[in-house]
């Protein structure tokens, strides 16, 4: 990467603001720390006959060219790196469309219970009753929340959930001999994964524009609906943070054309207990447990993107499903038991560790608690929208859901400062920047999602920083152009890094390291 590392004191350090605790310098790589012969531990040499069964041409001639480091420097390397991290555990993270809410630590306790954590995925059903019951309960709860008939917990992420949903849509049309449906309709305010999913599943993507109020333009939608329509994929609330005011009309129009209605549930955090997509007629949707149900974003291994379906898609759900017998015991569906299934989309039953965390969250909140989650998330977003109105442009200035779009187009016109500069300057104020330049239909966009887990003081501090930056843009724009000043690295030259990538690699085996034994 092309970067300017500057250990000297910052020329434009943000006064009286809190900066995240970061080291003064970047960490050397493990390869740079490597010294010949240095070891953290000594692995016993295998007995001679252990290697005898391996074909000679499969045996390694040289040891792998791994970094040679001892335990203290390895641990310090990773701990020091972790200090450079910014996370919800260190500060405010209003990254729009990502729902970076607090991840309650009780979730971690639950997921680490040995009965869940140590269970081998291949144990017989009789020995996995607790986990199977948890998954079965979680499916029922997600049905209740979504208003759908059934849920698969298999998909490893929201994007895989989308593909799973659309593969079921395809199976549905094919099962009816309806093979002419080759198009999926996606509004221009949708998540980028929606058109990507449509393409992955072999469909042509048709984009429909938003109307002046930020909703789907119904006339434009009706104009593209027809016998080729397989489905509409609707993100609701949209990436503008707006609820589709005519959602029922939209779903009805799709159904009249013979298509199915898919709801991208990535923004469920705004509507828990308030709106059930199944009640509005949606046929299929996914939820992102790492957004709505407080499982970690990354870090904890694979994610989970459960998919809920209505009546029409029940036969096509991935297998194996978790079934409950009349005697109250649980078992997994056997191969071939439900021939119409689209089959497995992931090994075993899903990312169980992540699903235990979501279960713990749901159990801790209960129905009324979840409703309060959405109310507070919407309140926090509207509070910030009011605070920033007048300082930044608010292109769709009506009551928003869990997030809203601001624009720095006014600063660009008046002071030559762009959204990117504002975002980088926020780092100096100790906040993670919001999502920028998305959604694409808003110029100089800042997509701000505070979530329900932040205090009023934190929201005020963030709003104060945004106001201070806007004021600074007019008197000292250079401080913004060259921000950040207090981060471990200064402004990265992303364009040069992408145009002329400076990549290094080392072969996985090499002659530089002699075999110790």
């Amino acid at each position: 990467m092309n970067e300017q590392v500057d250990g000297s004191s910052p020329p434009f350090g943000a006064a009286d603001t809190v900066c995240p605790a970061v080291g003064a310098a970047l960490q050397p790589t493990l390869d740079e720390l490597s010294r010949p012969g240095r070891r953290a531990s000594r692995i016993p040499h295998p007995p001679a006959d252990a290697l005898a069964g391996i074909p000679a041409d499969q045996l390694r001639a040289l040891p792998p060219a791994l970094p040679e480091v001892d335990e203290p420097e390895t641990v310090r390397h990773f701990v020091n790196l972790s200090h450079l991290n910014y996370a919800v555990d260190t500060g405010f993270y209003p990254l729009g469309s990502c729902t970076m809410k607090w991840n309650p630590k009780i979730n971690e306790w639950a997921a680490r219970l040995p009965g869940f954590a140590d269970l081998h995925p291949l144990v017989p059903d009789a020995l996995a009753q607790g986990t199977l019951e948890l998954l079965w309960d979680l499916e029922r709860w997600l049905c209740e929340i979504s208003g759908m008939r059934a849920v698969t917990l298999q998909p490893a992420a929201g994007a895989q959930g989308e593909l799973t949903g659309i593969l079921m849509v395809r199976a549905y049309h094919r099962s009816r001999g309806d093979t002419e449906r080759s198009e999926i309709i996606v509004p221009d305010s949708s998540h980028g994964t929606n058109p990507a999913t449509a393409s992955m599943a072999g469909y042509r993507t048709i984009t429909v524009r938003s109307d002046a109020r930020g909703g789907v333009d119904l006339d434009a939608l009706r104009a593209v609906l027809g016998p080729r329509t397989a489905a509409l994929m609707l993100t609701n609330p949209s990436t503008l943070g707006l609820f589709e005011e005519r959602v029922c009309e939209i779903v009805d129009a799709v159904h009249e054309a013979g298509g199915l209605a898919y709801m991208d549930g990535a923004n469920m955090n705004a509507i828990l207990g308030k709106f059930r997509p199944g009640d509005a007629g949606f046929d299929v949707m996914h939820v992102n447990v790492h957004k709505t149900f407080s499982t970690p974003h990354g870090g904890g291994g694979p994610g989970a993107g459960p998919v809920a379906v209505g009546e029409k898609l029940l036969p096509f759900l991935p297998s194996p499903r978790v079934l409950r017998g009349d005697d109250g015991t649980f078992r997994l569906e056997r191969p071939g038991e439900r021939p119409a299934s689209i089959g497995r989309v992931r090994s075993y039953v899903g990312s169980t560790g992540v699903l235990v965390r979501a279960y713990a969250y749901l159990l801790a909140h209960g129905g009324s608690g979840l409703e309060e989650v959405s109310e507070d998330a919407v309140l926090a977003a509207n509070y910030l929208r009011h605070r920033l109105r007048g300082t930044y442009e608010i292109p769709y200035d009506r009551v928003c859901k869990h997030e809203f779009v601001a624009s720095a187009a006014n600063l660009k016109r008046e002071a030559g400062v762009r959204t990117l500069d504002v975002a980088k300057r926020l780092i100096d104020h100790g906040h993670h920047p919001p999502t920028i330049y998305f959604p694409l239909i808003v110029e100089e966009a800042l997509l701000i999602e505070p979530t329900e887990t932040e205090s009023l003081e934190t929201l005020d501090d963030f709003a104060g920083a945004m106001e201070a930056i806007a004021a600074e843009a007019h008197v000292n724009p250079e401080a913004l152009h060259s921000a950040p000043h207090t981060a471990p690295v200064r402004r990265l030259d992303e364009a040069t890094a992408a145009r002329q990538p400076d990549l290094h690699w080392r072969p996985m085996t090499g002659a530089q390291m002699p075999c110790l034994d």
Partner: protein
């Protein structure tokens, strides 16, 4: 914002310079400004026949990846290979060295058919 007289423009912020039966195609200064620093351009294959409004290339910037849409029906007769090594030409000289492709027109191009003259394009972007 720089909008050149004598060129034709599309709603997708592309320009078209018609010379005889061929047209040179590029993106407008407004588009380049909106995209930010361009880091990669995917050019159409030589000889490819284009239908108006179909995607025929890709422009990737630090902000977004955008399709290029064919402004007219025709055949690609030349592409700007300089963009492969220097995609930044789209930002520095969008109407000159940053041209993208030359197309042999299937039929004469004029305003109408989704094409605008400079004044109409200026009105569209509020310039």
């Amino acid at each position: 914002m720089d909008v050149r007289d004598g060129l034709l423009y599309t709603d997708e912020h592309e320009w078209l310079r018609v010379e005889g039966d061929t047209a040179t195609v590029g993106i407008t200064a407004y588009a380049a400004d909106q995209l930010g620093d361009v880091v990669f351009v995917e050019l159409p294959a030589l000889g490819r026949s284009l239908r108006r409004a179909e995607a025929f290339g890709v422009v990737e910037s630090v902000k977004a990846v955008s399709d290029l849409f064919a402004p007219v029906d025709g055949e690609v007769v030349e592409v700007n290979q300089a963009l492969v090594g220097k995609p930044e030409l789209l930002n520095s000289d969008p109407y000159g060295e940053g041209w993208i492709a030359r197309v042999r027109l299937a039929e004469p191009a004029s305003d109408g058919e989704g094409l605008k003259d400079a004044d109409a394009y200026r009105r569209m972007i509020g310039a």
